[in-house]
């Protein structure tokens, strides 16, 4: 059943194709009014059959009369039809795989250093930077420990969008730790998106608490 359906899908006609066909119909009907039934009938027949033996000299009729470019709503900017995202930026600091299975996890040590974010943003606010500095200072003093940064979102946003945003937040904190001198391979990230709210409420107070990055200190066995 699926295979049959997919065969149909491949045979679809795009909107452009349909528009073209419709304009051809109008064109044919206009000519019809001229009364040149037989000649045009032959032309159409040739077009149908793809007749190449005796090409008929046909002057192509423009899709639109010259000078008429279509209607434009006054006072509104016209956006380009094919807008491209014209920039590429370095994605960030590549994540290296370090297996820390069996390491002790401490999510409480830096609970008070939880970093909070603005709505739909992964930018580190200036007021949050000292918290990351505190964690960096501890990691410098304890060179064997590693940290897992956990990114979270509020519920406003779709599930997978938030999973990506949570990762973006965790990575923003990671970049700040690296900037403060911590080796990238000591920092792993995980996004929980909107799956692990600290406050299950549906109000601004709850959302503010849920847009966060948390630190879990990992100590080798």
């Amino acid at each position: 059943m699926w295979h049959e359906f997919r065969a149909i899908v491949r045979n679809q006609v795009g909107p452009d194709k349909l528009a073209e066909e419709n304009s051809n119909v109008t064109w044919n009907m206009k000519l019809n009014k001229l009364g040149n039934l037989l000649v045009i009938g032959l032309m159409v027949t040739c077009a149908v059959c793809g007749c190449r033996k005796k090409p008929v000299a046909v002057t192509p009729i423009p899709q639109r009369p010259p000078g008429q470019v279509g209607d434009v709503s006054p006072g509104r900017p016209i956006e380009p039809a094919r807008e491209t995202v014209g920039y590429e930026t370095p994605s960030g600091i590549p994540i290296s795989e370090v297996d820390r299975t069996g390491w002790r996890e401490d999510a409480e040590m830096f609970k008070s250093e939880t970093v909070y974010f603005d709505f739909d943003s992964s930018a580190i606010k200036p007021g949050e930077r000292p918290k990351i500095q505190t964690v960096a200072t501890y990691m410098k003093a304890n060179p064997r420990v590693a940290v897992r940064v956990e990114g979270h979102c509020d519920e406003r946003g779709t599930i997978e969008y938030n999973r990506a945003l949570g990762e973006r937040r965790a990575l923003a904190i990671r970049e700040e730790l690296v900037r403060l001198g911590i080796a990238p391979d000591r920092i792993s990230t995980i996004s929980y998106g909107e799956e692990r709210p600290v406050d299950p409420g549906h109000n601004e107070e709850a959302w503010r608490k849920n847009r966060r990055g948390e630190f879990v200190i990992l100590t080798p066995p």
Binding site: W2, V85, I190
Partner: protein
């Protein structure tokens, strides 16, 4: 290209007949193509009882029929279900019987779905029936979520995972009983591939950081997904066995929710260049990223490209909440349909399944896009979301 050829012939025949007779101011509308803002078809269902009656009525309402009394109906569905489903479809305007059939084997429920599909195939602009298709979705209870599959109406639901962790974003392999999904079973968000016919599964993507939102190409050979191993969530594509991994976007901001064009040439996804959320597309083998305009609605995410290639359905986020929208696949002015999120097209390119917020949770609902009729699917205990329609 058979359909294209047929349509051309139809148009040309029309043109010739117009030439031979008189010019007719008629608009040729393709038989398959629906348009936005259609009126529902008045239809009556008589003679059936119990489950069969409920199934028939549900299946017909889902594809944009309105149930009315026989005297008001354009089409009459009549028959019985004493031991097996027997029925006929009558066009009450032309007074012709379009279908008369009896069904054997399977359950009465399955027979009713089969009858509904036969009816729908004869109604205008409905394409092939969808009453015997399947869906996959996520069911969340507290902080645990699992993947389920069910009939398209929510019946015969069964769990695919029982991992007791976060599981999300199921995606079918086209034409196969096989799913990709995101699971935290091994710690982080990783992508698993799960063959439902054999029950075997394996880890498909376990790169450092984020691995999520798998989407399988129409030919089943390539998989698009979001990985953050480069240091930012970006769009990647690889072979169905995980080899030949290629990065397609290189932005600092996050990309999410890829889907494929039905010809397999493009991958559409949600992105956020210059602090503005947009839908984008990129060639599946790489190239410049183009913006797909969604004029009139803000913050588009979760795109899904219709199997006939004409539309992209997506979620728009406003201050008030989420809306299901469609936009022509080449971009343009978007149309808001109903409140909801995460739409997935049925194989008929007409019906959407989506997540709807209700008091205290979320349910799955079916939307007939042209008439905007909404029907809830049967409930599974827990909050259902992230539906994916097998196609």
């Amino acid at each position: 290209m058979s359909v294209v050829v047929t349509r051309n012939v139809g148009l040309i025949l029309f043109a010739i007949s117009g030439l031979a007779l008189t010019a007719q101011e008629e608009v040729v509308i393709s038989k398959e193509a629906w348009h936005l803002n259609e009126l529902p078809i008045p239809i009556a269902v008589v003679g059936f009882s119990g489950e069969v009656e409920r199934v028939l009525k549900f299946d017909l309402e889902v594809v944009g029929c309105k149930l009315v009394s026989p005297s008001e109906a354009q089409y009459l569905v009549s028959g019985s279900n004493s031991e097996r489903v027997e029925g006929r479809l009558t066009d009450q305007i032309s007074k012709t019987v379009l279908l008369a059939k009896a069904y054997t084997g399977g359950t009465l429920r399955a027979q009713a779905h089969a009858f509904a599909d036969d009816i729908v195939a004869l109604l205008p602009n409905r394409g092939r029936g969808i009453a015997r298709t399947r869906i996959a979705f996520r069911v969340a209870q507290g902080q645990v979520s699992e993947i389920y599959v069910a009939d398209y109406d929510g019946f015969n639901a069964q769990p695919v995972t029982q991992d007791g962790t976060i599981t999300a974003a199921p995606a079918w392999v086209p034409g196969r009983l096989e799913l990709y999904y995101t699971s935290y079973k091994l710690g982080g968000p990783h992508i698993f591939r799960h063959d439902l016919s054999t029950g075997t599964r394996k880890v498909f993507a376990r790169y450092p950081g984020l691995n999520t939102s798998a989407a399988v190409s129409p030919d089943g050979r390539r998989v698009a997904m979001i990985l953050s191993k480069s240091g930012s969530p970006d769009l990647y594509v690889c072979n169905a066995d995980g080899s030949d991994l290629k990065q397609l976007t290189f932005t600092r901001e996050d990309e999410s929710s890829p889907c494929w064009s039905p010809d397999g040439r493009w991958i559409c996804f949600a992105a956020k260049p210059k602090e503005r959320r947009v839908l984008c597309k990129v060639r599946a083998d790489g190239g410049p990223v183009e913006i797909i305009r969604t004029g009139g609605v803000p913050n588009p995410t979760e795109p899904d490209w219709s199997p006939d290639g004409r539309w992209i359905a997506f979620t728009s986020q406003t201050r008030a909440g989420f809306d299901i929208c469609v936009v022509p696949a080449e971009g343009g002015t978007a149309t808001v349909l109903v409140a909801g999120e995460d739409p997935s097209w049925a194989p008929n390119s007409r019906t959407l399944i989506f997540t709807r917020r209700v008091q205290g949770g979320t349910v799955l609902s079916l939307l007939d896009v042209p008439t905007r009729q909404v029907k809830d699917v049967a409930r599974v205990s827990g909050n259902c979301s992230q539906p994916s329609w097998a196609r």
